[in-house]
């Protein structure tokens, strides 16, 4: 029996924080690739500490719905799941290349495959592009458009910037958008000066965050100048200093994220049948005809 456990941050304050986790779990459940799909949280229930005891299967894949390797994926989650003998060297990662580690979870005395976070998987690049398609409602968006991939800077986590750059570089290599830039909230180049970093009249801004919340709904819109105060709201696109900014909100809410969760489990050895193709198909942006 094959089980998937998606672990995410959750929130004591924001009811929408867990929504992407539940949505992606539902998408994956519908593929039937796993006998069970469970969700666990740091700030909601079941907590990381107790989620594994709700799992029935013998082949267990744990996928963190986090954007980068760092404090949560390297310390908090393995500790709270009680992965025996965990050490970050198990992943042998340069900050982007964590794949999986197979360890016994003391809580249930069974092996689990502890996967790297979704945010650093190569398939995440496609989700960022898909997010740009969604927000512009154009499956071919790219020509005459710039793309800004935005995240925290290194002040919080050195690997956060690495993930942003990694995806921005990969998208740039595809020559699909006129310009692709990595911008940050707390270091240069800063998202506050977005129009200065782009020549294109239209720029899609995709924040590399899992859920919409304070950063994506208040911080970034105000810093970029989409609105004076987030309570006023803003249009998509909104023109700031002559640049039309298409603000996408958290990339983690994009339905294709379910694909990255599956890719992580597949890399760790899960048998997925046709689930990957199914998810890519069902989460597509309509062509509009």
């Amino acid at each position: 029996m094959q089980s998937l456990v998606i672990v995410a941050h959750g929130s004591h304050l924001n009811p929408g924080s867990s929504a992407p986790t539940y949505d992606h779990a539902d998408t994956i459940r519908a593929t039937g690739a796993f006998d069970e799909v469970r969700t666990g949280f740091w700030k909601e229930e079941p907590h990381f500490r107790e989620v594994l005891r709700t799992v029935e299967g013998s082949e267990i894949y744990v996928v963190p719905l986090f954007v980068s390797e760092g404090y949560f994926t390297e310390q908090v989650i393995p500790r709270e799941l009680r992965l025996e003998g965990w050490d970050v060297s198990e992943w042998d990662s340069d900050g982007l290349s964590a794949d999986q580690a197979t360890l016994v979870a003391e809580d249930i005395d069974r092996e689990v495959h502890y996967c790297g976070p979704v945010g650093t998987h190569r398939a995440m690049t496609d989700v960022i592009v898909r997010r740009a398609e969604s927000v512009t409602d154009d499956p071919d968006v790219g020509d005459d458009f710039g793309l800004a991939v935005v995240g925290h800077g290194t002040e919080r986590n050195e690997n956060s910037a690495k993930a942003i750059e990694y995806h921005a570089d990969r998208i740039a290599e595809r020559d699909r958008f006129d310009e692709v830039k990595a911008l940050y909230m707390d270091e240069e180049p800063e998202v506050d000066d977005l129009p200065e970093h782009f020549e294109s009249d239209d720029v899609v801004l995709v924040p590399l965050f899992i859920a919409d919340g304070y950063h994506t709904q208040e911080d970034i819109p105000e810093d970029v100048g989409l609105c004076e105060d987030h309570t006023e709201g803003y249009d998509v696109p909104e023109t700031v200093d002559g640049t039309r900014i298409w603000y996408a909100g958290a990339v983690g809410t994009e339905p294709l994220m379910a694909d990255v969760v599956l890719e992580r489990a597949a890399d760790a050895g899960a048998d997925l049948g046709t689930a990957l193709d199914d998810v890519r198909e069902t989460t597509r942006v309509a062509t509009g005809d």
Binding site: N14, P15, E44
Partner: protein
């Protein structure tokens, strides 16, 4: 097919039912249950019989008079029957449909997973009562409470369990008057907000909103629904029943914290656990959380406050407690000071009433014009108008004496 009203009369001689005992319902043996029995018998060695309540069934092993491939039935009290064809076995099992469907319900529908199995068996006391007693009780409806949930178990004429799950406050309300659901995952929406539309960060807070019902859940969906409303409570309850609940007490939980929560460990200064008593009284009382607190200060030191009466245990300080403790660790690091205020006796009592009303979540209940209540909005506004200075200092006394 026997008429259930006459069947009881006709079988009264060999049944234990008396006039006032609930009646065991008439059960038809469903084909899938019979097929499962055949499969189970086929999977076993001859001579390793399949056990039901009151009898066993097996494939004849040959050599004892049975033709190979035929079946035998061994009642616990009565003559064994050998050499049964599949059709004869079916007839024999159909006569014992309650026991067979009971086996099928637990062995094939509910399955082995410990927490689910224990929970569904607990609902009908399957480890304590006979099939006949349980089926009679299920026919009437067995009610169980789990937190704020009311679970009513019934049985179909095919021996399948069905469960009605709703808020305890909606007991007795007809299904038609409630919002009905089938998918256990629908419960995620139902538990997110309380009756006033406020987000519920703690699923086991006694603030579950009602007005909905899952009227006909299967055993597996019952478990999933309860798991969604009160995550991991069944698993922890099950471990506790097995004597395996892994309790993590306050000290070890706080010592484990890191990052922004690492500071909480410093709140324990080896000067007793009064501060943790206050935390438990503030956050863990039954009025705040339905879990029964089993964690203490440490393994050797119990807290002085009661853990509550919940059905399911709380095995360690939850994330809400840890987050609040972080705030208190900072606040409680402040030194006490002496402030001097002029208050009338009624004003002192009013301050107390306001704190009581907020702590008990009563502010919404206090009527707008009920100025007898100290926590009434007009009364509070009057106190503010009279006693606050332009900077919002109570009694005109600055918080920091150097500010004057």
């Amino acid at each position: 097919m026997a008429d259930p009203t006459t069947a009881t009369d006709g079988e009264a001689a060999d049944s234990e039912a008396s006039d006032d005992a609930p009646e065991v319902p008439e059960i038809d043996l469903p084909g899938d249950a019979f097929d499962a029995v055949l499969d189970a018998i086929d999977d076993r060695d001859p001579g390793d019989p399949l056990r039901f309540e009151g009898f066993t069934a097996s494939r004849a092993s040959g050599g004892d008079g049975d033709a190979a491939g035929e079946y035998r039935l061994d009642p616990a009290d009565g003559d064994r029957r050998t050499g049964l064809s599949e059709r004869e076995l079916h007839e024999a099992l159909a006569e014992r449909a309650p026991a067979v469907t009971d086996w099928y319900a637990f062995e094939r529908v509910v399955g082995e997973f410990g927490p689910r199995r224990a929970f569904v068996r607990w609902i009908e006391d399957a480890d304590g009562e006979t099939v006949a007693t349980r089926y009679a009780a299920l026919a009437e409806g067995i009610e169980r409470a789990w937190g704020e949930l009311r679970i009513t178990a019934t049985i179909t004429d095919r021996g399948e369990r069905r469960y009605d799950v709703r808020h305890a406050d909606d007991a007795g309300v007809s299904v038609g008057e409630l919002e009905t659901h089938e998918d256990p995952l629908d419960a995620r929406e139902l538990v997110t907000f309380d009756e006033k539309g406020r987000y519920r960060p703690l699923k086991t807070a006694p603030s579950l909103a009602g007005g909905w019902v899952f009227p006909e859940l299967s055993p597996r969906d019952l478990y999933e629904t309860v798991e969604t409303v009160y995550p991991a409570t069944v698993a922890n309850w099950h471990r506790e029943r097995e004597g395996e609940l892994d309790v993590s007490h306050w000290r070890e939980t706080m010592e484990r914290q890191s990052g922004i929560y690492g500071v909480v460990e410093t709140w324990d200064r080896g000067e007793g656990h009064e501060h943790v008593d206050w935390v438990a009284e503030a956050c863990c009382a039954d009025s705040q959380c339905l879990k029964r607190r089993e964690w203490e200060y440490d393994e050797d030191t119990d807290l002085d406050v009661d853990g509550g009466d919940g059905v399911f245990p709380c095995r360690e300080p939850c994330s809400v407690v840890v987050s609040a403790a972080r705030k208190w660790t900072r606040l409680e690091s402040e030194r006490e000071r002496t402030y001097e205020f002029e208050l009338t006796p009624s004003e002192k009592e009013q301050v107390e009433e306001i704190i009581e009303a907020v702590a008990d979540g009563r502010t919404d209940e206090i009527r707008e014009a009920d100025t007898k209540e100290g926590a009434n909005r007009y009364r509070a506004r009057f106190l503010r108008a009279k006693r606050f200075d332009d900077e919002g200092n109570f009694g005109g006394v600055p918080t920091d004496p150097d500010e004057e």
